[in-house]
Assembly symmetry: C2
Homo-oligomer: 462 residues x 2
Amino acid sequence: MEEKELYDVILELLRAKKGAALKKELSEQEPADIAAVLLELWDDHELSEEDLPIVFRILPKELAAEVFAEMDSDLTEALIKSFSDKELKSVMNEMFIDDAVDLIEEMPANVVSRILASVDPATRRTINQILDYPDDSAGSIMTTEYVALKPNMTVAEAFDVIRKTGVDKETIYTCYVTDAERHLIGIVSAKDLMLAKQDDTVSDIMEENVVFVTTVDDQEEVANDLRKYNFLAIPVVDKEGRLVGIVTVDDAMDVLQEEATEDIEKMAAITPSDRAYVRTGVFETYAKRIPWLLLLMISATFTGIIISNYENALAAQVVLTAFIPMLMDTAGNCGSQASVTVIRSLSLDEIEFSDIFKVIFKELRVALLCGVTLAVANFAKMMLVDRMLLHNTALTPLVAGVVCLTLVVVVFFAKFVGCTLPMIAKKLGFDPAVMASPFITTIVDAISLIVYFRFASLMLSL
Amino acid sequence: MEEKELYDVILELLRAKKGAALKKELSEQEPADIAAVLLELWDDHELSEEDLPIVFRILPKELAAEVFAEMDSDLTEALIKSFSDKELKSVMNEMFIDDAVDLIEEMPANVVSRILASVDPATRRTINQILDYPDDSAGSIMTTEYVALKPNMTVAEAFDVIRKTGVDKETIYTCYVTDAERHLIGIVSAKDLMLAKQDDTVSDIMEENVVFVTTVDDQEEVANDLRKYNFLAIPVVDKEGRLVGIVTVDDAMDVLQEEATEDIEKMAAITPSDRAYVRTGVFETYAKRIPWLLLLMISATFTGIIISNYENALAAQVVLTAFIPMLMDTAGNCGSQASVTVIRSLSLDEIEFSDIFKVIFKELRVALLCGVTLAVANFAKMMLVDRMLLHNTALTPLVAGVVCLTLVVVVFFAKFVGCTLPMIAKKLGFDPAVMASPFITTIVDAISLIVYFRFASLMLSL
């Protein structure tokens, strides 16, 4: 069913107060769809703070916990406030650790203390450990609910373990084999177990060359590993090589989407936000954008200073002014083509700093081709359209020559700056995405103007 | 082992011609790592066209097919040319259908006909069917190798089916229940099967409310569904509701990464490419960039025409020229902040066309805050730095007023154009990502200049 349709159905049942029908309808839906529709109803003021817990209580227990984990933080906060301690405890017990941690990270302090009070001491300890890992590290996104097997178990015994504990595990399809000290010594997939003989031991069929990550590894690298190796989960070990958790593919996908969104935001000079655009308030949106606008505005005044220095030249040849925007825009576009390509390649792990000379050499050859093409096209356009068609007599072939020569040179500079800055930023430990279009544009603008006026001064003897 | 380390080890074993040690080393590695290292050796001319098939023949059969599927097309093409018909047949039989289709799409025609001749007629028919689906559709990325169960089977019988056919299936963790006409009537996870009683029937435990996609659905939507619902695979049905294939989560992850890269490239005015940056030649890179640069250069000449029209005003007040770059850059940055945010929200399915008024209302409020902040900051900077510190006497408070008033108005225009154009593009069936920064910048530049010169004419009586 389409989301719109589901929205209408649920709204109608809500208004008619048909609890049984509502329960039947909701039970057949995916948790993510229920969460999305509840959020829309909430935003449209069709679901009051009193109705929300009523709808929630209708859901079967397991589905309720899944919906809860998928919900927007505005809704979960309202729900928790309406929950009795017993209800909160029940939902928290059904949730996976990693979802519980996500929830806690989004809630205000008073709600967090209620949540932590509602879980048993062992879970609380685990949650606090995960919360202690650095932001965006493997440790901070992992879950501790994996199937652990021992090497001397038979396949039949392994199945028993899975049957007994599997319900509460985030995945049962990759099982982890650990020794007495919890060191990770192998993995077995459920497929291997199913295809093996019942009396084989786990150590017979386990894969010993295990790809793993450590708790402090960056979440983007972890997600890239899952993607590269086509894994359903990847084990996370601590400094001593002991297994402490796993990251599953569904979380890895979310990480990749978030990281791509963050890169895109940074490339457009916006401080990244965890919240979806539609869920972000006007003031918060403003706060994410204005620092960059101010910074870039201030740096753009350098270009103004350059122009002021050449005011006399400009006053003598006003025709030159008309080409400033075109030169600046073209240089900016060339620079951002190079920078964005390099930034994306860096974050996909396709290139690294040691490739810098290869990248520069390539960009300079591309720049030569682009620069010459643009210059030729522009010269033809200036002569045919501006001069012959529009009778702009101030635009002599010499002036056109200045403009086109400038184009070639600034395209070179733009591609060079565009490809080197992000790589140097990465090397120095900064985020390369911040070195994208807006910054490159500001730098390249200044270079363009200086080159332009130098050529103009020399060739037109200003 | 790090890739660099693996590279050195393999290179050493290759040079010393230690076949047995090489086999041992490679057998312990992930297919993706082997493929990556072989590509690097190939690029560094350490692996000749004669060595490549020798290394490949060393690999165990199943691993060889996996490495083959992960390889860059340059390598696979060289390998296929060196393969005997028997070898090609053996590798193709081990490959999953979706990987075979990917391979065929990348190979030149003569290689394709050899590949198709090497597979059995039934596989060839399936491959041809998949090749017939539109580019970037669910049908074009699906695989036909799924586990199909019947509703009246017992759990024990279902396990038998999985054990017998599972080796050749892309996933055995989600099984699909079909009726006699192959209509999809339910799904059962391997987890459900393991936790069920042996004599339960499949229809007892299957989930009947199945989320599915159709063969013609866009691959990005399919991947977003897998992410949203945390699925490991999603079924693909034809127009008659018959199950024809599945899309697995590993392919969905690749789709999301590719689509994000494409969006980023389009936002930077680059025609997207299927090949990684480092694998793309200079001329190809040039060809992906130059059309946009030319188009944007031509459209930037409109701003030149606007400036030409106000040449006399500029000649009278040369101080105005110095602020053109700052105004254009700031407007461009404001516009791309809005457009990039909206484009990303559109591709994450967070907003749709019907939200356009909500989005505009929000952007205009953000614009008001941003515009006023920028204007105040700029006025203060002009008076304190430019006028008092740098003694720029031409910069009267009235001129500063013109610049700052222009700022407020163009920020409004920029945010408005930035948020509406991508949404309208999407509505009209164009790709919203193309409406990103460079286009918005060109439009916003022209608006900025007109507003600037109108205000200047009115307030400074030029």
